[in-house]
Symmetry: C2
Subunit: 478 residues, 2 copies
C-alpha cells in the first residue's frame, strides 16, 4: 500500500531503468580494472555498490512477473547480476514465471541449498511445475520438508503430464457443507486470514469429499444470511477430471467465461480446482508453441542462448526440409534433358511449385483450425473437400491464366503458356486434395494434425509441381 491510486510503472520502463543501472555498474567496473591504485579502489568500490543498492531497491518494488520479464530480456552476464540481487524469498515465484530456456540458465547458477529454499516456499502445484527442471537431490529435500497432506498433493500433481487438467490444477479450494446457513459460511470465512486467489466460488462437499454443488461468492453476498447453502448452491456446473486434456478445459473456460472450476476423480470426489490464470497461461503457451512450430523452431528459445544451443533448437526442421529439397532436386534431375532443350523451364518451374505451396498452406491452415475447434464431422468433410476443390479450380483458372500470359510475354511461345496454365491448375488441385487429406488422415491416426502439416504439404507441392510442369512440358513441347 504505497501512494494513493498509484499506478505501477510499466514493465518496459522498469527494464530500461535496470539496464541504465547495469551500465553505470559496468562503467565503474571498467574503471576499477584500468586504474588499480589503492586509493581509487575504495571510492570506486563505494560507487559500484551504490548502483547495485539502487538496482536492488528497484527490483524489490517489482512484481515477480516483471522481474521475470527483465531477466528474459537481459544477456546472460547481466541476467545473473540481476538474479543475484533478487531477494531469496522471491526466487521461487520468479522461477515459475520465466520461460523454460531462461529458467535453466538461472537454476544452473544456484546451489542446492538456494534451490531447496526457493522451492519450499511454493504451493505444491507450483513445486510440481518446477520439478522437471530441478536436480533430483533438491526434490528429495523439498519432499522431506512437506507435510503428509502436501506430499500427497505433490505426488498427485506430479502424476499428471503437462497438457492435462491435472497439470493445471491447484489445491486451494474453500470447502463448505450444504446443511449450514450462509451466516455460518460467512463466519467461517471471516476466521480465515485471507482467501485463496481467484476464489469466485466455494465448493460444497459431503462428508466423503464428494462434490455436491458450487456456492458462488457473489451469490453468497446478495442472499439473506439465514438461507441454507443447499437451497442457493448451483447444482449444474462444469467439472473436469484430472486426466482430461488441458485444451478441453481451456475451451470450456473460454466458452462459459469461468474464473474457477472443480476437478473431481472418478468417484466424484473433489481433488482440486483449475483457475482462469492457469488457463490464460496455458492458452498463451499453446498458441506460442503453435507459432514457433510453424516457424520451424522446436521450442521457445532464450534469445541470448549460445550459438550451439540455438543450432540444436533449429536443426530438426532444417534436416527434414533438406530431405524434401533433395527429393525435389531429384525430380528435376529426371527431366534434365528437357531443360537443356527448353531452358525456360528452369526459370518457370519455381513459380508452379511456389504458388502450389502457398495455396496448400492456406487450405491446411483452415482445416487444422477447424479440426482443433471440432467443427469437422464425418458429415461435412465431403462438403469441405468439394469446396476446396472448387476454390483451387477457380484459383487455377485465375492464377494459371496469369502465369500463362507471363510465360508467353517473356518467351513468345504460346504452347509454353498453355503448359504453364495447365500445370498450375493441376498443382493447385493437388494442393487442395492434400491440404484437406493430410490433416484428416493425421487426426484419424491419432496424431496432432498441426505438427509438420505445413512441411508435408510444401514437400508435396514442390516435388509434385516440378513433376507436373516438367512432365507436361516433356509430353507436349519436346
Amino acid at each position: 500500500m504505497t501512494d494513493f491510486g498509484e499506478q505501477r510503472p510499466s514493465v518496459q520502463e522498469s527494464l530500461e531503468q535496470v539496464i541504465a543501472l547495469l551500465h553505470k555498474h559496468e562503467l565503474v567496473e571498467g574503471l576499477v580494472q584500468r586504474q588499480e591504485g589503492p586509493r581509487q579502489d575504495l571510492v570506486e568500490n563505494l560507487v559500484h555498490r551504490l548502483h547495485l543498492v539502487e538496482l536492488q531497491k528497484l527490483l524489490d518494488g517489482l512484481h515477480p512477473a516483471d522481474i521475470a520479464h527483465i531477466l528474459e530480456a537481459l544477456p546472460l552476464e547481466q541476467r545473473l547480476i540481476v538474479w543475484d540481487l533478487v531477494k531469496a524469498d522471491r526466487d521461487g515465484e520468479i522461477l515459475l514465471e520465466v520461460s523454460d530456456a531462461v529458467r535453466e540458465t538461472l537454476i544452473a547458477n544456484m546451489d542446492e541449498k538456494e534451490l531447496v529454499a526457493a522451492t519450499e516456499r511454493l504451493d505444491t502445484d507450483e513445486i510440481a511445475d518446477l520439478a522437471p527442471d530441478l536436480p533430483r537431490e533438491v526434490m528429495q529435500d523439498v519432499f522431506k520438508s512437506l507435510s503428509a497432506e502436501e506430499r500427497e498433493q505433490l505426488r498427485a500433481a506430479l502424476s499428471y503430464p503437462d497438457g492435462t487438467v491435472g497439470g493445471l490444477m491447484d489445491f486451494d479450494m474453500v470447502e463448505v457443507r450444504d446443511d449450514v446457513t450462509l451466516e455460518v459460511v460467512l463466519r467461517y470465512l471471516r476466521r480465515l486470514d485471507e482467501m485463496p486467489d481467484h476464489t469466485d466460488q466455494l465448493f460444497v462437499v459431503d462428508r466423503q469429499e464428494r462434490l455436491q454443488g458450487l456456492l458462488p461468492v457473489n451469490r453468497l453476498l446478495v442472499t439473506d444470511p439465514e438461507t441454507v447453502v443447499a437451497s442457493v448452491m448451483q447444482n449444474e456446473f462444469v467439472q473436469f477430471h484430472p486426466e482430461q486434456e488441458a485444451q478441453e478445459a481451456a475451451a470450456a473456460f473460454e466458452r462459459y467465461d469461468l474464473v474457477s472450476a472443480a476437478v473431481v476423480d472418478g468417484k466424484g470426489k473433489l481433488v482440486g480446482r483449475v483457475t482462469v490464470n492457469a488457463v490464460v497461461d496455458y492458452i498463451r503457451q499453446a498458441k506460442d508453441s503453435e507459432i514457433l512450430t510453424a516457424g520451424g523452431l522446436k521450442e521457445e528459445e532464450d534469445i541470448f542462448a549460445s550459438v550451439w544451443r540455438s543450432v540444436k533448437n533449429r536443426w530438426t526442421w532444417l534436416a527434414v526440409n533438406l530431405v524434401t529439397a533433395f527429393v525435389a532436386s531429384r525430380v528435376i534431375g529426371v527431366f534434365e534433358e528437357s531443360i537443356v532443350k527448353i531452358v525456360a523451364l528452369a526459370a518457370l518451374m519455381p513459380i508452379i511449385a511456389g504458388i502450389g505451396g502457398n495455396s496448400g498452406n492456406q487450405t491446411i491452415t483452415m482445416i487444422v483450425r477447424a479440426l482443433a475447434l471440432g467443427q469437422i464431422t464425418r458429415d461435412n468433410a465431403r462438403k469441405l473437400f468439394a469446396k476446396e476443390l472448387g476454390v483451387s479450380a477457380l484459383n487455377g483458372l485465375i492464377w494459371g491464366g496469369v502465369v500463362g500470359v507471363f510465360a508467353f510475354v517473356i518467351y513468345h511461345n504460346w504452347q509454353l503458356g498453355v503448359v504453364m496454365t495447365g500445370a498450375m491448375m493441376l498443382n493447385l488441385l493437388l494442393a487442395a486434395v492434400m491440404g484437406v487429406a493430410i490433416p484428416l488422415v493425421m487426426q484419424r491416426l491419432g496424431r496432432d494434425p498441426a505438427l509438420g502439416a505445413s512441411v508435408m504439404i510444401t514437400a508435396i507441392t514442390d516435388s509434385g509441381g516440378f513433376f507436373i510442369f516438367l512432365g507436361l512440358a516433356t509430353i507436349f513441347l519436346i
Copy 2:
C-alpha cells in the same frame, strides 16, 4: 438447476445429436417430396415436426456459446434451420459468440425487427461489439430504445476501435465510497438481485467518480464488518486508459493474474472495467489471426463459405507471392546460358533457396516474438545480430557441407560441390541478416513486424539464393 452435480454434456456430443436430428428431418422432407399423397402428407408432417420439436428442446438446454459452436460447424442450409429454432431472446448472445464470417450469414437471414429485438437485450458494450455488422437502421432503432446513460455508454464504447482497452471494456462496475463500513457495503450488496459477472472487487470512488482504490470481494469477506472501507482497500493497483492497446491489458492480466481491472480517463475518473473473460477472448483471437496470417489467410473463414468468398479471402497473399515468384523466375532467367551448359544447376538451385527460406523464417519467428514480448532493447539488438550470424555460419558449415557432398555424389563434380557449400553459407548469412533486420526496421517504421515478414524473407532468400548460387557457378564453373 436440474440434476444433482450433473455435468453438462460435451459440446461435441450435442453437435452430433443436432446433426442426427437434422438428418431425420431431411429424410422425412425427402419422403414428403417423393410421395405427395394427401394421407401420407399428414403423417409425415407430424413426424417432421416432432423432430424439430425435439431439436428445439435440445437447443433450449444448451449454453449460447455451445449453440454458436454448432452453428459454425453446420453447412449454411442446416445452419439456418437450427438458427430459426433458437429462441429469439437468445439470438443476441449467440450472435456475440459466433465468428465474424458466420455472424454475417446469420444476420443476412434476419429481418430488421428481429435484429432490433436481439440487440436491445444486450449490454451496451455488447451492442458496440455487434454494431459493425448491423444495418444502420437497426442501430438507430436500438439507440432510441436505450436510456440516456446507456446511450452515453454505447457512444463511448463505439468510439474506441477494436484492439484498444476501450473496445474490451464493459460498464458493470459495483462502486462504493471509502468512508462507509464493510457492514454498510454488505447490506448494500444484499439489496442487489445479483452482482455482475466477474465481480472480484468493488471500485472505491469519490463524489467526482474518481477512482480511489479497490475493495477485493475476498478481503470484504474475511475482514471484520466494523472496518471502514478506506482502511482495507487496495491503494496500489493496475489501471488502464481506454485508448491503450488491448495487447498491453492482456499482458498485464497474464502477468498479474487479474480477474478484473479498472479503466479510468485522463482525470482519473472511473469509466469502465475490463474482465478476464474479455481478455481471454482477445488473446485467443489475436493468436488465431496470427496463425491465419502466417498461413496466408486474410481472416477467419467460415468453413462453409462459398467458393467465391474463399477465393477473395485468399487472393491477396497468392498475388503477393506470385509477384515474388516472377522476380525469382527472372533472376534465374538471367543465368539461362549457364544452366544450358551445366544443367545440374537447375536441379540443385531449389535446395539453396529452400533451406535459406527455412532458416530465415526461424530467425524471423524468434525476433518477431521477442519484439512482441518487448525483450529487444537498443542495447541487446547488436548482440542478437551477432548471435544469429553465428548460428547461420555454423548452420552454413553443417548443411552447406551436406549439400556439397550430395552434389558431388550425384554429379561426380567436386567444384560443383564446393560452389553448393559456398552458396548455402552465403544464403544462410543473408537469411540471418534479413531475418533480424526486417522486423526491427518494420517496428521502427511503426508497422506490425509480424505482418508479411515471412513472405518478405522467403522472397529474399529465394531470389537471393538463386542469384548467389547461379552467380558463383557462372564465375567459377563456366
